[in-house]
Symmetry: C2
Subunit: 352 residues, 2 copies
């Protein structure tokens, strides 16, 4: 029997098990940097000498799914991670790893999708890399998309508005650790769409769904929200979904977070699929949604701005930060209150 | 019969076939940027608003090889690509893709190697990503390492020295397109070591070798050379080796390049392995060597600086750029002259 520890699918699923691996086997070994926002912050992007820097690999399966593909996903995912720090994405890299035998027609579809999404987000691919591995060593195609960005022109204004209501606010970036009791929590739309869309077209699940992925670049929506002002934290609920996101904020900011089930927007098709499969829509990954923590006084204005933006029509205030308890809790539809623990991992593997 | 075009191993092998794929299926589709050094330059890194930006994925097989491993390779490769633009690497990203079942002990070895190489190069990993794919979908581990850097503090001085001898020199970065007739070509040491080391430990080749990979970060050696001054072009001869590098310079700079076989340093073990396998050491990838084009008047001083640096003991002037012919040619040991064509690809697959 092989007694040594081995990597499990859950080590890449965005929840507690992944964070434990990263802390114990990566953070503890790498030299510690002293940049503005460095590795140890484990935030969405790093900030190095004023440059926002982010890298993500995309292993989504299948490569083409209802509402998107790996190319649109790669550009959107990296653009969104830069944007939620208060950054304006400028340039991306594109590193392709292809399996020998991969159809060049499929490559063309992916590159066209990357081009279209770059135009939509107003960013450029400026550098790249192409590797090929032998047939059987990879599921067709893996994409890494890294990116750099600069400070949003609205970020200082946004923080001016924050300080109007919270005089002691000092952060220079939108960070997971900025949430304070009283802040309102807003989600920009329905949750669970991406993960359920991926599930719906995987072999063997045998259910059909009209649910499409929500994958999209959010930088323009986020810029609009920052121009309103009052935002303290912002994050896209990808692997591990809303449950993971709220627990990260709760832990890093040292606050409790209370959300109301009736206010969390979930499409009927997503709810039905989740009930059938016994999975929690709060733990499913999204790729075109942002969750915002905002000083209470500005919550309605931010909500309005999101609802006016494309893809933000279903935005909703879903709860608030509190000092009455630790962790994350939800008031359920039937009036009870249940703890939302950090998910061990996303229930749907390889959504991104 | 499936008549559609498919990806071949050669599409990732760094030579003519890869460059054709990139030009026809990537460059022609993506929106064209207008940055200082953008995608269409196809140089080692991009330069965006003064920030040097680079991304590379590493699929080397095996993960551990004589003289190095995928972790040391990833840090060195990205550091070197930033350095050869005239950049000082600052921060790296680390995106891991792991196969389910991968031993965590092996992950630890790789991360320790990354940490050691970061210390050696004086750079930090500041952001990252971890993905896991099902057993059988990947050969253990793939690493993407992207990086950002700033303009080297010696770059302006270096160009001042260039302009002392070439008054009309205008480039602001060390580019493949900067070579002019008369420039001397210097290699920082023996070639072919990395590719032959990888070959020597692959299953099925059945030959043993004492050759070790040369993989190492070159930023300190390069900084030293820039502080001497006079460098116009600089590149690391990775996939496709010296033959690919010289052909890229020849094409992008519109010059001929003549090298002398007797001056190109090749270890006996590398030469023996190449003869046995019928491959050309000029086409084999290196991971710890840099090739420099320098104004002739400064060639001896640059050579001396390289020889004083760790890993540069075998540096040699191997030839010069010329306007007497197009393309790349080599004076052979027996006194003839042969054309060095752009290699179709590296003869050793998956060296990086």
């Amino acid at each position: 029997m092989d007694r040594s520890e081995r990597i499990l699918m859950a080590h890449g699923a965005g929840g507690y098990i992944m964070h434990k691996l990263i802390k114990e086997h990566i953070l503890s070994i790498l030299p510690r940097d002293s940049f503005e926002v460095g590795l140890h912050a484990l935030d969405d992007s790093a900030v190095v000498n004023g440059v926002i820097f982010k890298s993500d690999s995309y292993t989504v399966k299948p490569l083409f799914f209802p509402g998107g593909d790996i190319g649109r996903l790669a550009v959107s995912g990296t653009v969104n991670d830069i944007s939620v720090m208060g950054g304006e994405p400028i340039a991306l890299s594109l590193a392709l790893i292809l399996e020998e035998g991969f159809p060049i027609d499929d490559l063309d579809r992916i590159i066209h999708s990357i081009a279209d999404t770059c135009r939509e987000a107003d960013v450029y691919v400026v550098t790249g890399d192409t590797k090929v591995v032998e047939k059987g060593s990879l599921d067709g195609c893996i994409v890494n998309c890294s990116g750099i960005g600069r400070r949003s022109r609205y970020l200082d204004y946004n923080f001016d508005i924050v300080r109007r209501f919270r005089r002691d606010f000092k952060a220079r970036w939108i960070l997971d650790s900025n949430v304070k009791p009283g802040d309102k929590i807003i989600v920009s739309g329905t949750i669970g769409d991406h993960g359920v869309a991926i599930l719906s077209c995987r072999e063997g699940y045998g259910f059909e769904s009209s649910v499409r992925s929500d994958v999209r670049p959010l930088n323009k929506m986020i810029e609009k929200a920052l121009s309103v002002g009052g935002i303290v934290a912002m994050k896209d609920p990808t692997r591990g979904g809303l449950a993971n996101l709220l627990n990260e904020w709760s832990e890093k900011s040292g606050v409790g977070i209370l959300v109301r089930e009736e206010d969390i927007p979930v499409r009927d098709g997503v709810r039905a699929a989740c009930e059938m499969l016994g999975i929690d829509p709060l733990e499913i990954g999204n790729e075109g949604k942002v969750v915002i923590a905002v000083v209470a006084e500005m919550a309605e204005e931010i909500l309005e701005a999101l609802r006016e933006a494309e893809g933000g029509e279903d935005a909703a205030i879903i709860g608030e930060a509190t000092d009455e308890f630790e962790g994350v809790a939800m008031e359920t539809l039937i009036g009870g209150r249940r703890i939302i623990p950090p998910p061990l991992g996303d229930p749907v593997p390889r959504i991104c």
